[in-house]
Symmetry: C3
Subunit: 483 residues, 3 copies
Amino acid sequence: MGCIQSFRQLCDYPKNTNVHISFPAVCFVWQTAMIILFGIFIRYNEESDPHWVEYKKAKNLSDLDNDFYFRYPSFQDVHVMIFIGFGFLMTFLKRYSFGAVGFNFLIAAFGIQWALLMQGWFHSLDAEGKIRIGVENLINADFCVASCLIAYGAVLGKVSNVQLLVLTLFGVTLFAVDEYIIVSVIHARDAGGSMSIHTFGAYYGLCISWMLYRPNLNQSSRLQGSVYHSDVFAMIGTLFLWMFWPSFNSAISDHGDGQHRAVINTYLALASTVLTCMAISSLFNKHGKLDMVHIQNSTLAGGVAVGTAAEFMLMPYGALIVGFCCGIISTLGYIYLTPFMEKHLKIQDTCGIHNLHAMPGVIGGIVGAITAASASKSVYGEEGLINTFDFEGKFKDVVPTQQGGYQAAGLCVALCFGVGGGILVGCILRLPIWGDPADDNCFNDEAYWELPEDEEVVSPVLHYNNHMQNKDVAESHFTMEQT
Amino acid sequence: MGCIQSFRQLCDYPKNTNVHISFPAVCFVWQTAMIILFGIFIRYNEESDPHWVEYKKAKNLSDLDNDFYFRYPSFQDVHVMIFIGFGFLMTFLKRYSFGAVGFNFLIAAFGIQWALLMQGWFHSLDAEGKIRIGVENLINADFCVASCLIAYGAVLGKVSNVQLLVLTLFGVTLFAVDEYIIVSVIHARDAGGSMSIHTFGAYYGLCISWMLYRPNLNQSSRLQGSVYHSDVFAMIGTLFLWMFWPSFNSAISDHGDGQHRAVINTYLALASTVLTCMAISSLFNKHGKLDMVHIQNSTLAGGVAVGTAAEFMLMPYGALIVGFCCGIISTLGYIYLTPFMEKHLKIQDTCGIHNLHAMPGVIGGIVGAITAASASKSVYGEEGLINTFDFEGKFKDVVPTQQGGYQAAGLCVALCFGVGGGILVGCILRLPIWGDPADDNCFNDEAYWELPEDEEVVSPVLHYNNHMQNKDVAESHFTMEQT
Amino acid sequence: MGCIQSFRQLCDYPKNTNVHISFPAVCFVWQTAMIILFGIFIRYNEESDPHWVEYKKAKNLSDLDNDFYFRYPSFQDVHVMIFIGFGFLMTFLKRYSFGAVGFNFLIAAFGIQWALLMQGWFHSLDAEGKIRIGVENLINADFCVASCLIAYGAVLGKVSNVQLLVLTLFGVTLFAVDEYIIVSVIHARDAGGSMSIHTFGAYYGLCISWMLYRPNLNQSSRLQGSVYHSDVFAMIGTLFLWMFWPSFNSAISDHGDGQHRAVINTYLALASTVLTCMAISSLFNKHGKLDMVHIQNSTLAGGVAVGTAAEFMLMPYGALIVGFCCGIISTLGYIYLTPFMEKHLKIQDTCGIHNLHAMPGVIGGIVGAITAASASKSVYGEEGLINTFDFEGKFKDVVPTQQGGYQAAGLCVALCFGVGGGILVGCILRLPIWGDPADDNCFNDEAYWELPEDEEVVSPVLHYNNHMQNKDVAESHFTMEQT
């Protein structure tokens, strides 16, 4: 801790939000690098290549067997979650909507390119050293970026666009390694990414936020809240995330019953979460009123927590129970844990991702382990068990209880990568070169965006003055127009 | 009427919007009940169960024959209509956007669970007493909830969240019985639910509103209007409803031509409605200006009215004619009928659901009856006729004219259930225990939501004062900051 | 030019925005005409007709072979782009959001009907003189309307709703001829419509704007800007366009690899554009800040430019390069070209469609020509080449270099139709009968919409006065309430 403190002092410097050179430079250099690496590595796979005509004849397939038709609708739903869902969810701050939706857009657009490469190197490299991509790669790239957007939630309003790009570069890299270990080495199943996306992403973001702790953040407290309309904007994000979460959890599940079951489980878990979230929100308010922060976030906890087990035989009532518990835990987290973490653990978590992603993600990992360990041939059928848990090849002798252990191991890996990666990247982001805002200028779009002159701020006064008879005030009006 | 009046007087009581205990209690108890009932009754069907691998081999199917791939894209569109469409459509009030989108979310999330049970008991109960669910059940649950959300439109801003949950509990129950009688007993076809969803839901809501008549509602008239931004928010709801209505009407139609034709008919009816709605809105305004209330609502009337007949041979020009008429009738309804109903029939209809759902729903039922009665083998083909109207099993001898009669009977049933159910549930909701707002506090989020301190209301004054030279005003500024 | 000038003087007249008679009349007459023409011409095709049951048996197909299941998800995405995407993209003006989203709705709803007829006459007329429609026709109708909505972007805020209907009537007509020549006569491929939709639509709109040049438009400059919330609304449009552009470019591509590849190329081009757009926006701002106008528009340029070549073997890195260049060019266009065009070429382009659609569209045409010309059997495979470029029937001897020429010819046709059509229609729209707003009343919803009394403008003052101790000001408050 002493060394961290001295490093922190080393990094204390007068803040300068000017990213005039660094931001364009990073964008151009990295985008150019992407083009070169794509030129070397990325090719179409057999389903998106014109040789498909011959391929399908040889294999006696029809066009409908192209994976495109199994996954494209889910892909588009996931795409909406990434860009509209996460983007608008974070617009709740009164003066950080541009940053929320705009920087979300920026880092997602960069992240999906880098993710295609990183995930490709680990999963899709063929004998010629090429990465063959199709619609499933696009979905996985969106998934990968989701973990960085979750991390963004913890540092929302306190970092520069350059820092966000760095966060994404490392986040995607770590995610790809993490996911490779969880899915391919350990052979844990993680359809909706409770572990690899949510747990990893959340702890990654929280540790970065811890490293970037700002003791004087209360200087920006005037901006750390919502206004009426910004809360409505945030509900757009909430609802698109909520509605399309079944697609998220089923997008890369097995064709047929796997996708079908993942949708049903997620749909039910989310429905149940809404009721308990609202109940707790009302119960712990002194007038029984609902709090928009809870509705915007905790209603989604069930979708996170059902991610790993979505394609397992969680059973409909099991999904409801998971949602029930997560709605309670997540909302209580907003009420008690977020203030506690800020005060005692020095973790400032703007969007409360600990309540929305970290805790439900860990719960999801545990639920997944339990559900897997308790799987049986009587419930899944012989072939169904093999199919669902992929007990094939070198894993053909795995039994469900073992699989439960694998799942638990996967959760630990996700936690380690999140915490370790977050501390490492947090150190890098403390360096005094990234153009982050001063403590009294956080949560403020003005630092990085040209803002429109706001009619609503000016006109009422003009309107008011139009009716003024008072000479003194009329004079002050004159003064105003000069400014 | 006398007894109703005395009941009304019995229910007159000082209003208290405190739902501190009742709301969380209802949420917890009902959600727990859902878990228990799901545990007893709900299971995956053969397409979402891991035994699908064996099932498809036995039946020589491919994964694509799983109903999931036929219906999931439509399901997601319907889901968006329910949560974004209905939710944002009702955000038009200046200070009831939280209630609109938040309570819509609440009752839909509860309603879909209860609907899976209620509809399951009537339609999907198997020999073992289990309800087997798949994607079609999810769509039907969304449909069922739609009728309650329609009813919410009539009482928007005038009821508490507890009342809405009660409205939904009974609404879903009534819907399931109503739909069972219409579809299974009478054998009427109702793909897009003109009768079972729109007619039922609208009259259910209108009768509740009639029972809850507030003679002094004008005390809240300052809040019963829109502001510029809230009208734009409402257009998000309108457009998502409008765009995805073809999915709504085709979601549970027959595979193949049924879904295809339902989409075309709905697409055309809606396009036609937009033009006549705007024409009437302009024509009946004294300056030829358009009214946002009409654009937000009446442009959707064609989708409602084409619901029953969407999968029939309505013909493209027939769909245009239906849309043409409904655009006119619905807009005229907003101009003349809504004020008339409020003044003379004591029905206060906040969103004008009588114009958007009730009248077009009845028209839809009639159009369906006529189209069915005039069906012929020359138009549909022999197999097409059987297929479209499901003239199989014990209905194999039905002829189109008979079917027309069945359709008309279905409409009557929907009307009876709507009116009867609405009066009954309205009586219950008048009891002085539900925490509804006082007459001068309607359409106000403040009653049930923690509201953000609104910068827009405060800052202009601060801004103004920054430029003030006048000492007196500076003093008053000081006074303000104290408050 | 002299004759144009004198025509312009002829058309100078005192403006009157009253469209009390003309607008409803146009709507009713045109909609009635649609019904009649649909009655004469439009029928269901074999996939949406009840005879499908017999048809599929005869051809040994399954329901899944119905084109509906290949194209409906893409159709719905395109539909969202047309109504939400274009509609909300244009809501950025502070007081023209109703017009943006409402008139977009109006002309799209009219345009799709007229497009079904116009495109049907050219492409789908059968031996009996009937147009047989299915889901692909609906997509093409949406595409056709897109070109008119692009044109609307150039004249946003400066024309009446009647003028927009005229613009759409002619725009759809010209589009259908233009597309017929490009696709059917010349045999150019244009999956995503870089040429037929974007180039045509943009030059059509720009030339209309040139013909309607308003030298005194600066009288409305107070309204020609955004406010904070209107910029957030516009991002809804931007993001839905951005996310669903892969569906746009793949919606009518070949089943199988064609659709799959078009999605990948578009996804990548768009991702790349975001980074270079933001880089240029920051680099050319004196404080390194980002400009919302660029983010809202130029991030989409890559999708336009990859339209024609989307289904070709552009290669993933090729798509990135196209996006890279377009992000730069489009953003620079906003910075330098739009002001230049307004000052020196007398083209007032409200939304900057020259930067978003015209230049990227032309680039797209050129990229398409080069990619087609360099196609080879080694890359596409023998059958793949035939399949991708449709070298069948009378075009079976075409070689790729020839095809490159066809593509270039197609681009020229689109340019000619756009410029020629725009000048012609611009002349018509200058006639002093259409009810367009005066120069000091542009970008103002008040001209055509009933506006809500805006609480935000009034309440702060009341709020302020509540705290006032100053007698003089209290008196002025009293004065205010009287007004």
